[in-house]
């Protein structure tokens, strides 16, 4: 009846996951009880859960990403603590548990923290930057989000029901095959990643269509803001790479469920093939994350330097260059498999070539600052932290791309230090900068600067103290994923590293404090005009938060940095442009399709993990029925009357006219 599921699936013998799981369940039940008791449920259902508004979905993505960032961070704390004490000892985590922790840490951080945060910011910002009302397929967007949430939920269920994969964040066979991993851990991984991967692929389709087909009139490609360009490049990579992931995991699934032999040790299976395929997705995945991050830095550096982005065309070229070359480097993840001099050299060179594109970007950011008037707000501090830190992270990356160097550094703590160096300084700093930068646009008030700066300084110091010692132990020969060790020289470096984690805990506390303090003091931090930073792109032309339709009248773009030009003209002439003629606006109706779909996807995933076949069939029927109901809907849109639009836009114009009259701008 319940497949493999029985009471033995609950780890009663392991107090740590049990208590952690209990706390999470209690928190979730508490939140639910609060929502029901306060009568917030109808509001949540109507305004958020069924929303197809790209801004709302973006905010929900970011919320999911932040929660998972916290979960992944807790895993990181546990790992650092284990390695700090497991010298000549077993530490406090047995291998069965430690191996789950590092596997979950990687999976969650890449797929359920960084990806939702990147996609969330893309969701929120791209349609606004392009000067349009929504993405190409609003309901599909909601489906994408909820499928990602399903994946995150499945990973977290594995904490208390069964186990998570013990194979590392990429389940290399033959270790991940049934013979060596008979538990449900790898199955949790497979279905969680598979379901959320479909969500990501749909996002890719949605945003490529949006950016290629739906832009404000006159917004030619060479007038698109840099963040939108990088979002396009990232989504093109999603389109090309995620089907590879889906197919690879499907093959491993067939091995585990139906006795196939793609990657097994028997019947001619070849596990090396998995390594090639998974990294054919895995390496572009890195650029899926980091290209939008580069876009965020471009916007932030240009805005706070008070200059347009230097060498815009060069930046676009460098972005697309990285986008293409990122597909030609995957083999550098296993130089040590012995592919021979020619192959290793070719992939070593192709990998270092990426540094050309990145180098060009760094120099263009430098020259954006050159001749600027730089305001060191929190987003700009994150960008400065990135510029100074990322250069050395890139350096160690190119070092690893040199095959003979990789022959002594592969899989070492040096590698671990390197990829945290680039992902934390490259992606996480960008996401925190982006959240800081666009927060006023999303919620109508700025975040508290003091707490933001405290977060930055604790983060950057904590980052160096945590990860620099890892480079050292890597050079001292330490390999990754060790549950215990007995080499004295490593011990105290790993202890320093765990001190760094303590500093990062303070940073995380400051970040949470910043959100709370800013919420409490939202009235004094209020963004009245919708342009709190002296912005340059179209998202700053509308109110904060923007109306559901984004722009009362779609902008007629005639130049790069059109909004900036418009603003300068308004200041020169001390008056706004003529009031436009308002018309009624058609907007997509909310739809529970995404949520219901994800509900059934969760059931399907859970049933497949535990081999509960009848439940899987129920889930499939439910998901199909949801699709049919959606496909046969009668009224997909609703109208917002012209009067309402006019009223709201006049209020926006009044706020801006007030600035022109008084000269009281928000950014001085």
């Amino acid at each position: 009846m319940l497949g493999k599921l029985s009471w033995s699936a609950i780890p009663f013998d392991q107090p740590i996951p049990l208590i952690a799981g209990a706390v999470v369940v209690l928190l979730m039940l508490g939140a639910l009880a609060l929502v029901l008791a306060k009568g917030w449920m109808p509001y949540l259902w109507k305004e958020w859960i069924t929303s197809v508004d790209h801004k709302r979905l973006g905010i929900m993505y970011v919320l999911l990403g932040l929660l998972m960032l916290l979960r992944g961070f807790i895993d990181a704390i546990m790992m650092r603590a284990q390695q700090a004490v497991a010298y000549h000892a077993q530490g406090y985590l047995p291998p069965e548990h430690y191996n789950q922790v590092f596997s979950a840490h990687g999976t969650i951080m890449v797929l359920f923290a960084a990806m939702p945060l990147v996609i969330g910011l893309m969701n929120f910002v791209v349609p606004l930057q392009l000067g349009v009302r929504d993405v190409a397929f609003p309901t599909l967007n909601s489906v994408s989000f909820w499928l990602t949430a399903t994946g995150a939920l499945l990973v977290n269920i594995s904490l208390v029901v069964g186990e998570f994969a013990r194979t590392g964040w990429l389940p290399y066979p033959p270790l991940s095959e049934l013979r060596y991993s008979p538990g449900v851990g790898v199955d949790y991984y497979l279905w969680a990643v598979q379901i959320s991967g479909i969500g990501t692929l749909l996002t890719g389709i949605n945003f490529v269509t949006t950016i290629l087909k739906i832009r404000a009139p006159g917004m030619t490609y060479m007038r698109m803001p840099m963040f939108s360009w990088t979002a396009l490049a990232s989504c093109l990579l999603i389109l090309a790479a995620f089907p590879v992931l889906t197919a690879t995991l499907a093959m491993l699934t067939l091995d585990r469920y139906l006795g196939f032999h793609f990657f097994t040790n028997e019947a001619g299976g070849n596990a090396m093939m998995f390594m090639n395929l998974i990294w054919a997705w895995g390496h572009p995945e890195v650029y899926i994350l980091v290209l939008p991050a580069f876009g965020i830095y471009s916007e932030v550096i240009s805005t706070f330097s008070g200059k347009p982005l230097f060498g815009y065309r060069s930046m676009v070229a460098a972005t697309l260059f990285i986008c293409v070359v990122s597909f030609m480097t995957w083999l550098h993840h296993f130089f040590t498999m012995g592919a021979g001099g020619d192959v290793n050299a070719a992939f070593g060179i192709s990998t270092s070539i990426i540094a050309v594109g990145t180098g060009v970007k760094i120099y263009n950011w430098l020259f954006t600052m050159y001749g600027g008037r730089i305001r060191f707000t929190t987003p700009m501090l994150w960008s400065m932290g990135f510029l100074t830190t990322f250069i050395t992270g890139g350096l160690t990356g190119v070092l690893l791309a040199v095959p003979p160097a990789d022959f002594i550094l592969h899989n070492s703590m040096f590698l671990v230090a390197h990829f945290h160096h680039v992902i934390v300084a490259g992606v996480v700093f960008a996401l925190l900068a982006g959240i800081e930068f666009w927060w006023p646009k999303a919620f109508g008030y700025r975040l508290h600067e003091g707490w933001g700066k405290a977060t930055f300084w604790f983060s950057i110091v904590g980052f160096y103290v945590t990860f620099m010692p890892m480079y050292v132990v890597g050079i001292l020969g330490m390999t990754r994923r060790l549950q215990h060790y007995d080499v004295a020289e490593w011990h105290w470096w790993l202890q320093i590293s765990s001190v760094g984690v303590l500093i990062l805990i303070v940073a995380a506390g400051c970040q949470v404090a910043q959100l709370l303090v800013s919420y409490i003091r939202r009235e004094e931090l209020k963004d009245i005009t919708g342009d709190p930073w002296n912005g340059r792109t179209l998202e700053w032309a509308t109110t904060s938060p923007p109306p559901v339709y984004n722009f009362a009248v779609l902008p007629q773009v005639i130049d790069t940095e059109y909004y900036w030009e418009l603003k300068q003209r308004a200041f020169e002439q001390a008056r706004l442009s003529e009031e436009p003629k308002y018309e009624a606006i058609e907007m997509p109706r909310n739809s529970p399709t995404g949520f219901v779909c994800a509900f059934f996807a969760t059931i399907i995933g859970f049933a497949l993990i535990w081999h509960i076949w009848w439940l899987m069939i129920v889930g499939l029927i439910g998901a199909y029925a949801t699709f049919v109901v959606f496909a046969w809907r009668d009224v997909p849109e609703y109208m917002i009357p012209a009067d309402e639009v006019a009223q709201q836009d006049r209020a926006r114009r009044a706020a801006r006219q007030h600035i022109l009259n008084t000269g009281e701008v928000a950014w001085q």
Partner: protein, 306 residues
């Protein structure tokens, strides 16, 4: 701006402390920067070359970043605000050229290094290499010395100064054979034979382990190699005592076991290594069951490939 001053005040001391601690500790035992053989020396040299080549552009870029940010702070009234300086063909030419030329140069280093230091390439030497066959199991290493007709578990003894030729495979999951101070590592993979050429030029005991996660017993896959003078090696090989390594003994090795104390075999089935590599024996057995996996094991019966 005050923040930049803070960068200097807070981050730089951290760097200095780290650097001061770094230098002596990197020369400690088991560091890849203290190689004891030609392969390790070659790897480390290429690594340091690449590092120096890149530092030549990284350091000026770092300085320029901090310098530009500091000088063009909004509060600096002496800095000239040039909001229209947004494109310069000359600068673009330079910023594309610098990384491109660096990568050209580095590409040459990569090409030459990848070929001369390819693990399959024999070390030029008058002496005939010592043949060693290495097999990774869950979770221990087996080393077969075919010429000496002995085999060891989790113990590697090698003669100083004589090239070593390893043939490496796995009886279960992936592992990586790695002795940091000897140099290059290479994968041990079921159904495949990788080769590795090394040489130890100094007697001593070194750190040796698996450098690819392979499951619960992975941290104990240690085989700390001992390099001894040639005569002592011959004595050791002659004096090894132990049971015969045949298919029965292999059956025991295929069972999962952790933290196995070193022991030896005297008398080795000469076809054993190739039989494992060609999958003519069943692969390692795997665990009894995982959480939620007590039933439904779906693997082929032992007996391996049809």
């Amino acid at each position: 701006m005050i923040f930049i001053r803070r960068v200097g005040r807070r981050v730089l001391p951290c760097f200095c402390v780290l650097a001061a601690g770094l230098l002596p500790s990197l020369a400690q035992a088991d560091s890849i920067l203290e190689p004891v053989g030609p392969v390790g020396k070659g790897d480390a040299l290429i690594m340091m070359d690449a590092l120096v080549i890149m530092l030549a552009i990284v350091i000026p870029t770092m300085i320029a970043t901090l310098g530009f940010a500091w000088w063009y702070r909004a509060s600096n009234t002496r800095a000239v605000y040039r909001p229209d300086f947004t494109y310069s063909g000359k600068i673009e030419l330079v910023v594309w050229s610098i990384p491109t030329l660096t990568i050209f140069f580095l590409g040459g280093v990569i090409w030459i290094g990848s070929h001369t230091l390819d693990p399959f390439t024999p070390i030029p030497s008058a002496a005939k290499p010592l043949e060693i066959e290495a097999v990774s199991f869950d979770w221990k290493w087996l080393f077969i010395y075919p010429e000496q007709n002995v085999a060891t578990v989790n113990q590697l003894v090698v003669p100083v100064g004589r090239p070593l030729h390893f043939r490496i495979t796995s009886a279960s999951v992936f592992n990586v054979f790695f002795v940091p101070r000897l140099g290059s590592m290479i994968y041990a993979m079921n159904g495949m034979v990788s080769q590795l050429n090394l040489r130890a030029d100094k007697p001593g005991k070194y750190l040796g382990f698996s450098a690819h996660f392979s499951g619960d017993g992975f941290p104990d896959m240690r085989f700390d190699p001992v390099a001894v003078p040639a005569a002592q090696f011959a004595n050791w090989a002659n004096g090894v005592k132990g049971a015969q390594l045949d298919r029965n003994a292999l059956g025991q090795l295929l069972k999962q076991s952790r933290a196995v104390k070193p022991y030896a075999y005297r008398g080795v089935d000469p076809a054993l290594f190739d039989a494992i590599a060609a999958r003519r024996v069943a692969p390692g057995e795997g665990p009894e069951g995982g959480r939620g996996g007590a039933e439904g094991r779906n693997v082929m019966p032992h007996g391996g490939a049809p």
